[in-house]
Amino acid sequence: MAHVDVLLPTCDRPYALTLTLAGLALQSYTDVRLVVADQNPQPLVHLPSLAALARIVEARTGNAVEWHHRPTRLGIAEQRDFLLARATAPLVLYLDDDVLMEPWVLEALVAAHAHERCGFIGAFPAGLSFRHDVRPEQQHVEFWNGPVRPEALEPASAEWERRRHLHRAANLWHATARHASRTPRLYKVAWVASCVLYDRARLLEIGGFSFWPRLPRYHSGEEVLVQNLLMRRAGGCAMMPSGTYHAEEPSTVLNAEGRVDGHALALLPELAAALGSESPAC
C-alpha cells in the first residue's frame, strides 16, 4: 500500500491535465498511487502524452495507475466522494487537473503532515499571469508559529476575508518573495484549493464528501466545507512556498450561465452541529 493516494478528478481539460500529470510524474516523493476520475466523453488515458505520463508514474512509483472513466457528470463533490471511496492510503492528495507542481511539493507536504498531524495541508497555486499585478493590501499572512491547532472559523468574518484574499491572483507568490525561507512555513487559511493533502482517517471522520446528494448539480465550496469542519477538530493550514502554479484555464464546475446553483457552505451549520462542535453564526 502506498503512503499517499493522489486523487485526481478531471473534466474537459486534457492539456492542463497533461501538465498536472507531468508535474506529478517528476515528484521526488514516490510512495504514491495515482487514482484518476475521468469525466471526459472519451477516456483520456489513450491520448499519447497522457498514456506515456501514466507509464512514467507507474515506473517511478511502482504502483499501477487506476484510471476510472465515468462520463456521467453528477458534480465535483460526487467526483471527490467517488475518489475517496477508492483510497486506501493513510494520506490522500486531492489534486486538481490544472496545477503545475515543483518536484519537491509532495515531499514537503508529507513531511509537514508527519510533523503536524493536522487535518489537511494545502499548496495553493499562484496565478503567474498576475506576476506583475502586485497587491500589497492582499498579502497579509498569519503564520502558525508553533503547532497547527484546531480553530473554528466563521465564514464571512473579518478574519475569513483577510485570509482568503491571499489566495487570489499572484498574491501568494508576492507574499512568498517577502517572507522567503528555505524551509516551507505553514500559514493560517480560510480554506485552500487545488492541491491539498488530507489525513484520510480524519477526513472520513467528518464524513468526507458524502453530503454531495444534497447539493445541486452545479455547485462549489465542497472543499471549503470539509476543510472548515476539519479545522474545528484537527486544524488545517497551507504551505509557503507552495511550489504550485495554476494552468489558468476556465473553471469546469459552472452551469451553462457560467455560475453555480449552490454553495456547499450552506450545509455548514447543520454538519458542524451534528459533529458536536460549535456551530458558526452565519
Binding site: T18, A22, L26, P48, S49, A52, R55, L100, L128, R131
Partner: protein, 276 residues
C-alpha cells in the same frame, strides 16, 4: 552574461507534448540554462494555453527565454542549424519536443561534460510502453573504461549496430541491471544517440554543425546522427547512463525517411571540413 547551457528545442505541431517537455525543464535541479524554442507549425504552438502556462513558470524561475517562428520549413537539419546559430553558451542541449526529462538530467549531463571534455554526450530516450518487452539480444553495451576518445563510425559497420541498444526500453532494462550508484554515471560507446544530446557548442561548430543541410533535400532524416558522427570522429562522443529521459511516444513528424543523412553524405567530408 551567458548561461552555462542553451537548451534548443525545434517544434512542429505538438503543443501538448512541448508543454510536457517544458514542465520537465521547470523541474530541473540544474538551473543555469537559457531556453530557445523554434516553432515551425502553421498555427503557433507557442500560443497554446498549456505551452504558455509552462513558459510562465520558466520565466518565474528566471530563465532567459527566446521563442521564434521559423518558416518556411526547409527540413530538420536547417531548423537545427537555425537554433545552433542562436546558441551562445558553452554547451548546447538539443531536445526533441516529445520527451520528458527527470529532474537530474541536465545536472548529470553538465557534470559529465565538464569531466569528459568530449564533443557531445547524450541520454538515450526510453519508450516505457516496451517495459515488458525485454530484449537480451539488443542489450550489448560497450562501456568507455577510460577517457572518451575520437572514434570514426561509418554506416552499416559492426559499430553501427550499437544503435540497437537505444531501441524500445532496452536502456531502461540495462541500467536497472547495472544499478549505478546515485551521483555516478557510466559512459558507453555509441553509433549515434537521438533526442537529448548536449554538445560542446564550439566543437559542434568546428565540424560545421548542421550546415550540411544545403546538401540535402528538405525531406530527410538522420541529420542528428550525421552531425554526431562528424563530432565523434574529431572529439569523441558517448551515451551516459542512467538515462532519465522518456519518450512521450507520439507518432513521428518526419514521415518521409527515404533520405537518411549519414548514408547520403557520410562522415568523410565532415572530418575533412573539421579542424581535427
Amino acid at each position: 552574461m551567458t548561461n552555462r547551457v542553451d537548451v534548443l528545442v525545434a517544434t512542429y505541431r505538438r503543443p501538448a507534448a512541448l508543454a510536457v517537455l517544458l514542465t520537465s525543464l521547470c523541474a530541473q535541479t540544474f538551473r543555469d540554462f537559457r531556453l530557445i524554442v523554434s516553432d515551425q507549425s502553421d498555427e503557433s504552438t507557442l500560443d497554446a494555453d498549456e505551452v504558455r502556462a509552462a513558459l510562465r513558470v520558466l520565466r518565474a524561475h528566471g530563465h532567459p527565454l527566446e521563442t521564434h517562428r521559423h518558416l518556411p520549413r526547409q527540413g530538420l537539419a536547417e531548423h537545427r542549424q537555425f537554433l545552433l546559430d542562436r546558441a551562445e553558451a558553452p554547451y548546447a542541449l538539443f531536445l526533441d519536443d516529445d520527451l520528458i526529462l527527470e529532474p537530474d538530467v541536465l545536472a548529470r549531463l553538465v557534470h559529465a561534460m565538464e569531466r569528459e571534455r568530449c564533443g557531445f554526450l547524450g541520454q538515450a530516450v526510453i519508450g516505457l510502453s516496451y517495459v515488458d518487452d525485454v530484449r537480451p539480444h539488443e542489450q550489448a553495451i560497450e562501456l568507455w573504461g577510460g577517457p572518451i576518445a575520437p572514434e570514426a563510425v561509418a554506416p552499416d559497420t559492426r559499430a553501427w549496430e550499437r544503435h540497437r541498444l537505444h531501441n524500445a526500453a532496452n536502456v531502461y532494462h540495462v541500467q536497472r541491471r547495472l544499478a549505478i550508484p546515485p551521483g555516478r554515471y557510466l559512459a558507453y560507446r555509441i553509433a549515434w544517440i537521438g533526442g537529448c544530446v548536449m554538445y560542446d557548442t564550439a566543437k559542434l561548430r568546428a565540424v560545421g554543425g548542421f550546415g550540411f543541410w544545403r546538401e540535402l533535400p528538405p525531406a530527410h532524416c538522420g541529420e542528428e546522427a550525421l552531425a554526431q558522427l562528424r563530432v565523434m570522429a574529431c572529439y569523441g562522443g558517448a551515451g551516459i547512463l542512467p538515462s532519465g529521459v522518456y519518450h512521450q511516444e507520439l507518432p513521428t513528424t518526419v514521415a518521409d525517411r527515404r533520405i537518411d543523412a549519414p548514408h547520403v553524405l557520410g562522415l568523410d567530408r565532415g572530418t575533412l571540413h573539421g579542424s581535427c
